[in-house]
Symmetry: C2
């Protein structure tokens, strides 16, 4: 690594927070409390499977720009019908949709980010919208300096407008910004835009369905064990 | 106040940080160190006097959108010539211009904001750009949850796109957001957009040149002594 970055931006879903376990736990408790039976784990997996296709419809212009909250809600409505889940009110559906605002961090995330914040500008660079990422940070105690939601750019990753938009808003060159993630594809796209890159694996992100991202598949600037180890390798 | 806000956004220059004393102190020390003589206090006052006119040229479309950093630099170059200050290199001018990134908070600001952050979403809503406000927060230890720079909106206050843009990014109604400032005009503009309002005075902001904003001139939702008192009045 020729010189350290000035700012580090983090993929969030899967890289910083454990969306699958968080949502399954919350929905299972919610279902038990409300007496609503469903295969909540299957619903969560299907919901996440709808994530990329729903953003792709925006990317190709098939539907106008909308936030991830809105895409999540459209997918949820469809899946509730497909799964035949009965008894959910509009308030229930809104509450469930905002479950993405209440995801829990992986055990090393808050400690590692707190260390990194002492020397670097840190923020999420996520396909989540600002309100989602901000509410998540408040709930979980994630100490971001700034929230880079996709609604700031009107684009979802891996569109270059996101990675380059961060550099522009920070008044930095792309090479002074490091993209940090547990996903090879995100980092490859960031590297094409001239950003530095850092990888660590989250081998249980998808539970039994994990199919990739067990290890760094390219020569990223830093390959770490987790965010605490990233902090160690960056000297904080 | 019918019900408390969800988020509170703060005017920054003058309301949270003491731009005049900060810049005069820094430039005086810089001039002494570099052996460059100038009436630094007068330069700072003239620089600030150029603030509203420079933004007005953007507001009316006389010049294209640009960041406050860029407007500050244009004004600085003109004033250095007008004041006949000699011996400043390009690096010096860049360093001086970034003095706005290093402004110091008023004594109550960090303590009051830290208390408010425990219950509310807090952020600056400033005519400064994101990088200016973020670097300032890192330098001064200001614990913002999110940075609402004018470059997120492509508009300067008091354009409604700024106040309403915060509500949109937060997924809130305007009435759930409180604008907090030491300036009556800023709060009036926010109130016209439906935001809640909080005022406290900064009677030494302009030093001997202060001409207004000694007190709240309208029935704002909260009138406080300072940011610590605002926290007290909001129950945190």
């Amino acid at each position: 690594m020729p010189q350290p970055p000035v700012a580090i931006v983090f993929d969030t879903f899967g890289s910083v927070v454990d969306w699958r376990s968080s949502l399954i736990a919350e929905l299972t408790a919610f279902g038990a409390q409300r007496g609503i039976a469903a295969d909540w784990a299957a619903l969560v997996d299907a919901w996440r499977a709808a994530y990329q296709p729903s953003m792709q419809r925006v990317r190709v212009g098939e539907v106008p720009w909308q936030t991830l909250d809105e895409l999540h809600r459209t997918s949820l409505d469809r899946l509730v019908a497909e799964f035949g889940i009965k008894g959910l009110t509009e308030a229930d559906l809104q509450h469930i949709n905002l479950g993405w605002h209440r995801l829990k961090p992986w055990p090393d995330s808050v400690a590692g980010l707190t260390r990194l914040k002492s020397r670097f500008i840190i923020g999420p660079l996520s396909n989540g919208n600002v309100s989602l990422l901000l509410n998540m940070a408040k709930n979980a105690g994630i100490p971001w300096d700034m929230i880079f939601g996709s609604d700031l750019f009107g684009h979802f990753k891996p569109d270059p407008e996101t990675y380059l938009g961060v550099a522009r808003l920070l008044g930095l060159q792309p090479g002074q910004v490091m993209m940090a993630a547990a996903h090879n594809n995100d980092l490859l796209a960031a590297r094409k835009c001239g950003l530095m890159t850092a990888f660590w694996p989250r081998p249980t992100e998808y539970g039994p369905h994990q199919a990739r991202d067990y290890e760094a598949e390219h020569a990223f600037d830093v390959v770490a064990k987790d965010i605490e180890d990233l902090a160690t390798q960056l000297g904080v």
